[in-house]
């Protein structure tokens, strides 16, 4: 009973200290909220099917044939790309200048001879009837998307022309020409894979960004912890507390429990932002998955590990400046390495292996299991155990360091 009351007063004290520390509030609550909003909205179209992104493309048709005109009309119907037609005699230099001046990502030149190419004629296997000028700022992936679309359209037109040429033969053989031509739809059906095949929402940017920035911000607990811990040590408050029959272990537990609550509040606020605020700005609402137990487990494990790291840094650093600098730099490295800023699946193999060194990567994988793959408590158990084990080691180190510091 007495211990519980002491804990309640300690909680009250820590909450008052944090709410009166504008830097801590900014780092723990404002920064992740802003990141979640920005990243959820900025990356919305990368994850969602109803894309509203358009990429401007300059287009010049130098072929007077009907096939070339039909090709240009067909590609103008492509989603994502918006074609701006230029006069057929516009020189390549002029096109390049306009592209760079107008910040167009691509310029497509339909060369003379495309119509003949479609009909199966032209100058042989090495002939390239299309020329694509690419702005150097364009990623290879985006380039591949446009190239793929152009190649598919051209191949489709060549197939249809071929079928038409064989028209008489096919009719005599009783083959339906239209069936051979096919349609413009993709023959590939895309389905997302979820744990145990449970039905779930299509992944959205908010499902990706809430876990990422939540894990990142939870590790920023190092700022308020080191601020209060180092001040307590420097101002003799720790010594005063120890003289009041408050044991070192109690001091550490008394520091950890309030911050576990603060991390829990962070989780609730960031989830609330994902569910209620992001949709107000046109984003998709966050969906929580179906395992509250799994969510609590991984959140508690990330929190324990983050607080233990903060205590270790605070016990090693001499000043708050040292602790906050070391803590912030370490967090950014962990974040960059652990897939917070750049998803690990786009990293090269050796970087993906390096990412496993970051506890943020473990936490993020756990949250993604819940939010994105509809996993349960059993799915996040490996990551949670790893985080709890790491946290335990760091707490033990902190106790040893504090004992040595008091004795010296």
């Amino acid at each position: 009973m007495g211990g519980m009351i002491k804990l309640l007063y300690t909680l009250k004290k820590e909450f008052l200290l944090i709410t009166r520390d504008i830097h801590a509030v900014t780092v723990l609550f404002v920064m992740p909220a802003v990141f979640i909003m920005i990243m959820s909205l900025a990356m919305r179209d990368l994850f969602e099917l109803h894309s509203s992104v358009t990429i401007d493309v300059l287009a010049v048709n130098r072929d007077a044939g009907k096939n070339a005109e039909a090709f240009v009309k067909a590609i103008e119907a492509l989603p994502t790309f918006k074609f701006h037609r230029l006069e057929k005699d516009t020189t390549t230099e002029r096109i390049r200048d306009r592209m760079l001046a107008g910040d167009y990502k691509f310029a497509l030149i339909v060369r003379e001879g495309l119509s003949a190419f479609v009909e199966g004629g032209g100058g042989g296997r090495g002939e390239k009837p299309l020329e694509l000028l690419v702005n150097p700022s364009v990623t290879v992936q985006t380039q591949m998307v446009l190239r793929g679309a152009l190649e598919a359209k051209l191949a489709g037109m060549r197939r249809d022309a071929f079928v038409d040429r064989l028209g008489g033969v096919l009719e005599a053989a009783g083959v339906d020409k239209t069936a051979l031509k096919g349609d413009d739809g993709s023959p590939v059906e895309v389905r997302y894979a979820y744990r145990e095949g449970r039905a779930f929402k299509v992944p959205s940017a908010v499902q990706q960004s809430v876990p990422a920035w939540l894990v990142f911000s939870m590790f920023f607990i190092v700022i308020p912890i080191s601020n209060t811990f180092i001040s307590e040590r420097g101002q003799g408050t720790l010594m005063r507390l120890e003289s009041m029959n408050v044991s070192r272990i109690s001091l550490i537990v008394g520091k950890m429990v309030p911050y576990l609550f603060i991390n829990a509040i962070q989780v609730l606020i960031m989830i609330a932002i994902g569910i209620h605020v992001v949709p107000l700005f046109g984003g998709t609402a966050l969906t929580l998955g179906s395992s509250p137990g799994g969510l609590v487990l991984i959140a508690a494990a990330v929190s324990f590990s983050a607080i233990a790291l903060a205590l270790l840094i605070a016990s090693l650093a001499r000043t708050t400046e040292q602790a906050t600098t070391i803590g912030a730099v370490l967090n950014i490295i962990f974040g960059a390495l652990g897939g917070i800023m750049v998803p690990t699946f786009v990293m090269p193999r050796f970087m993906q292996e390096l990412a496993n060194l970051s506890p943020m990567a473990w936490g993020l994988e756990g949250f993604l299991d819940i939010f994105l793959r509809n996993g349960g408590a059993a799915d996040v158990l490996p990551e949670s155990l790893a985080l709890l084990l790491l946290g335990g080691v760091m707490v033990a180190l902190t106790v040893i360091i504090l004992r040595r510091q008091t004795e010296v």
Binding site: K6, T10, K13, Q235, G236, M239, S243, M244, N245, E407
Partner: protein
């Protein structure tokens, strides 16, 4: 039986002795002034007595309890007021008192009563709900002391409690300490660099240097063992100072004339008063058989330094 009894206490850091065979006893209801230069071992001694750090060897008994066996019970009857401002600047004085009081196990009516007492002793009614980081140095020092009174300690350890405060707050703190000792019979162990403070508040004085207690006696006994007469005078010009210091056994320091009690004492006294008369210098006070603590401390530590060279 003394309230605090320390026998052959030793403590080393990295094989360097910080406390070396310390023997010291403090009687119940007294004020012990603990004097010593920086690094002498004062804070280490207080840290051991308050149970913050362990000792290497020796015995410490406080209130009849063995520090090794019952540190928790000893801690609950003591309070330590560190030299630093050991509280939370972003909280108000009331919030600080409430937090530290709760750690002493106080709650409800008892907590309120003890907080009211501490607020009253610290004379903090006017600013108790303001954030501490808006306080002056003196207000912070009073809060530092007030927190130390929450558990009604039988023993109060005060480590330089008046560092960096204005004269008013300093006097207030010293008066409060005297009052606590007189009215509540609180035993006080007081360290300070200000000799006049120690002289003002202490009943007993102990001098610690290089981890050893080199002197421990009643204040009056220390101050009365004088070897000079002290004459406090008014303004003195250079001519008068020179005239006085021509006599062997006469020394002028900070407006005070010290006349050594030796075979020339009467001759020097006569000569000194002649100089005062000739130069129209008023005599404010004559202290027979007494010296200031500062003189004594400097002399004691200088002798030791000389002896060791």
């Amino acid at each position: 039986m003394p309230l605090i009894d320390i026998k052959q206490l030793s403590k080393s850091y990295n094989r360097k002795p910080v406390l070396d065979n310390v023997n010291l006893s403090v009687s119940s209801g007294s004020v012990l002034g603990l004097l010593g230069p920086n690094g002498a071992g004062k804070t280490t001694l207080l840290s051991i007595l308050t149970g913050v750090i362990g000792k290497d060897s020796g015995d410490v008994t406080i209130g009849g309890l063995d520090l090794d066996r019952e540190p928790g019970r000893i801690q609950s009857m003591c309070s330590y007021v560190p030299q630093t401002l050991a509280f939370y600047p972003r909280l108000s004085a009331r919030e600080n008192l409430e937090y530290f009081g709760s750690l002493w196990g106080l709650r409800g009516k008892k907590l309120k009563e003890r907080m009211a007492f501490s607020i009253d002793v610290g004379s903090m009614e006017a600013f108790v709900d303001k954030r501490v980081d808006t306080f002056s140095g003196g207000m912070k020092r009073r809060l530092n002391l007030a927190i130390g009174l929450l558990n009604e300690p039988a023993i109060l350890y005060l480590d330089e409690p008046t560092v960096g405060v204005d004269t008013q707050s300093r006097n207030y703190i010293l008066e409060t300490i005297g009052q606590l000792n007189r009215e509540r019979k609180t035993t006080i162990v007081y360290t300070s660099h200000y000799m006049d403070e120690i002289e003002q508040v202490s009943d007993e004085i102990a001098v610690i240097d290089e981890g050893r207690i080199i002197l421990h006696d009643a204040k009056e006994a220390i101050l009365m063992h004088a070897d000079a007469v002290l004459i406090r005078v008014g303004e003195m010009g250079e001519v008068a100072v020179a005239a006085l210091e021509r006599h062997e056994g006469v020394r002028v320091e900070k407006g005070n004339v010290h006349i050594k009690r030796d075979e020339r004492f009467e001759e020097n006294m006569t000569a000194a008063f002649a100089v005062f008369h000739e130069n129209a210098i008023g005599v404010n006070d004559i202290v027979f058989g007494r010296r200031t603590l500062e003189e004594f401390f400097l002399k004691l530590t200088n002798v030791r330094l000389r002896d060791e060279e």
